[in-house]
């Protein structure tokens, strides 16, 4: 059940080392839906390994669209989204799926399967690449332990609190040791206590070498983190504030 077409395209991890270490690059990236104007208009930026970057802006600014473009869930109208050295807009579906194996994505609505246990939910990215069962169990247990969920691993996600479900979603995004982590409003459903906890985890992930791009409209959170911020308004990049410049 492997993907031979994808395999022929090569492991994206082999082509991810760009000069300067940028894992994500956007060049004049645009996305429009019919005559409704641009959801993303002429974006350009780079994100390197180990960088934690917030994408901020009001609702409708284009944060989610940008993440979807980088993830290959949408095709750009023009410009380029280069992810791990691959031009996402020009990849076929099979190649995009292969690329996604190197990208972790944390969804605002968690996207956990209620009929599968926490352990089974987290194991999904490892299963799709054919990781042996014992190895899968070992790695799932390790990441759940790191996130303080090892005692909840046999339970249904539905029986967990919002913060715990979000941690399960993060565990699933991280278990495959992705080069890039994209998170769309990962704290949108959480109270302040859980929000800080999740943000500490994301910073920790970045500290371990993963490029982390977090879309959020929570200005306080961004302020507190001191990380780099890409500020969008009506699909345009209005500010790119480097870490420590604020």
């Amino acid at each position: 059940m492997g993907d031979r077409k994808g395999a022929r395209l090569g492991d994206p991890s082999q082509s991810q080392q760009q000069p300067g270490g940028a894992l994500l690059r956007a060049y004049h990236l645009k996305k429009s839906y019919g005559q409704g104007g641009f959801a993303i208009a002429d974006l350009g930026f780079e994100v390197g390994a180990g960088e934690l970057v917030f994408v901020t802006g009001p609702s409708g600014a284009g944060k989610t669209t940008l993440l979807r473009l980088l993830f290959g869930a949408e095709r750009p109208s023009s410009g380029q989204a280069i992810v791990l050295g691959r031009n996402v807009g020009r990849l076929g579906e099979a190649a995009i799926r292969v690329l996604r194996r190197r990208i972790g994505f944390v969804f605002q609505d968690f996207k956990l399967l209620p009929r599968r246990s926490v352990e089974e939910n987290v194991a999904m990215p490892l299963e799709v690449v054919g990781t042996p069962r014992q190895e899968t169990r070992r790695r799932v247990f390790a990441i759940l332990k790191r996130l303080g969920l090892e005692k909840r691993r046999q339970r249904s996600p539905l029986s967990l609190s919002g913060g715990e479900q979000q941690r399960v979603a993060i565990a699933r995004a991280l278990v495959g040791e992705p080069a890039i982590l994209l998170a769309d409003e990962p704290t949108g459903n959480l109270d302040a206590e859980y929000t800080l906890e999740i943000m500490d985890w994301l910073a920790d992930v970045a500290a371990h070498g993963t490029a982390v791009l977090v879309a959020t409209h929570d200005a306080n959170l961004v302020e507190r983190s001191g990380a780099r911020v890409l500020e969008l308004a009506k699909g345009r990049l209005v500010a790119d504030t480097k870490a420590g410049e604020r």
Binding site: G6, E93, K111, M124, V128, V129, P132
Partner: protein, 299 residues
């Protein structure tokens, strides 16, 4: 290789999970395929037994001349000699009324059939075997015609008429089997395809997430294929069991059922290869139904 084993293990686990989750749809698939194959299997079985009878009797069916009236043994032997003198005749056996009755009871076990019948209703006859060179239809007809010319003979039957009718009946059974096979097979495919598609729809959230974490199309579809294959195989086994049950019921009481139809040729069930083919046909139907159900673009 080990990765393939891992994928197979994941596929099987996911397929069994899917079957448990959509038990109703899975049961519908198994029943549909089971009943479809059972109906087809009935005609396969009937055809196989008819063919066995044909092979068992082969070319041994003699020309039989029935006496119009009861005759004494001396008279009968005179007609035996005259029949033996006909061209192409190899041997002639006189079967008295008593011998015919005893044979009927012995072969058919029809004691109860004769209840209420007074005397011996069976006529005496001459069973005329043809020489090997005279077994062509034209020779048999010529001998039958000559026997009809004997004053003491009331009726002549020869196997060719019976064989032609029987072979036609066998062809009809085969035609029904193929027609039903195609029609019911297509109907079963439709049902299987629909139930698998329903199962896929019920698991659309899982399919979506699998796509998001980078699962290939075959990884997503594989468990559905396995599901269809397993359910089809179960349907094949069900058909085989129902067929065995029906076969067992038709064999009882002794002397009834198949024995009535087949005479001395013992009825037979499907041989191992035919049984295996039935189960394989179920698995194939299930697999194709599942492949059709989850074909097409799925992001």
């Amino acid at each position: 290789m080990s990765r393939l084993v891992t994928y197979c293990g994941i596929g099987l686990r996911t397929a069994f999970r899917g079957i448990r989750r959509s038990a109703g749809a899975a049961l519908a698939t198994v029943l549909t395929i089971g009943l479809t194959l059972w109906v087809i299997g009935v005609f396969v079985l009937v055809g196989a037994n008819m063919r066995a009878l044909l092979e068992g009797l082969g070319e041994q069916i003699p020309v039989v001349a029935f006496f119009a009236e009861p005759v004494g043994e001396a008279t009968a032997l005179e007609w035996v000699r005259r029949a033996e003198a006909l061209e192409g005749v190899d041997a002639v056996v006189y079967v008295s009324q008593e011998a015919a009755l005893a044979r009927f009871r012995n072969q058919v076990g029809g004691e109860e059939l004769l209840e209420g019948v007074e005397g011996n209703p069976l006529p005496a006859s001459l069973e005329v075997s043809l020489g090997a060179e005279a077994r062509a239809e034209a020779s048999a007809l010529r001998v039958a015609e000559a026997l009809r010319g004997f004053e003491a003979i009331g009726d002549v039957q020869h196997g060719d008429d019976w064989l032609v009718g029987y072979t036609r009946a066998l062809a009809v059974v085969d035609a029904i089997r193929w027609t039903l096979g195609v029609v019911l097979g297509l109907a079963a495919l439709l049902v299987v395809s629909s139930t698998v598609r329903l199962g896929a729809y019920a698991r659309r959230d899982e399919i979506e997430i699998l796509a998001l974490v980078g699962a290939s199309r075959s990884f997503v579809r594989g468990p559905f294929w396995i599901e269809g294959f397993l359910e089809g195989m179960a349907g094949g086994v069900l058909a085989l069991c129902l067929l065995a049950l029906a076969f067992g019921l038709l064999r009882v009481p002794e002397g009834g059922g198949f024995e009535m139809l087949l005479g001395q040729v013992p009825p037979r069930f499907l041989d191992p290869m035919e049984s295996l083919s039935l189960v394989a046909a179920g698995a194939f139907l299930g697999l194709i139904g599942a492949v059709l159900a989850v074909a097409g673009p799925r992001r």
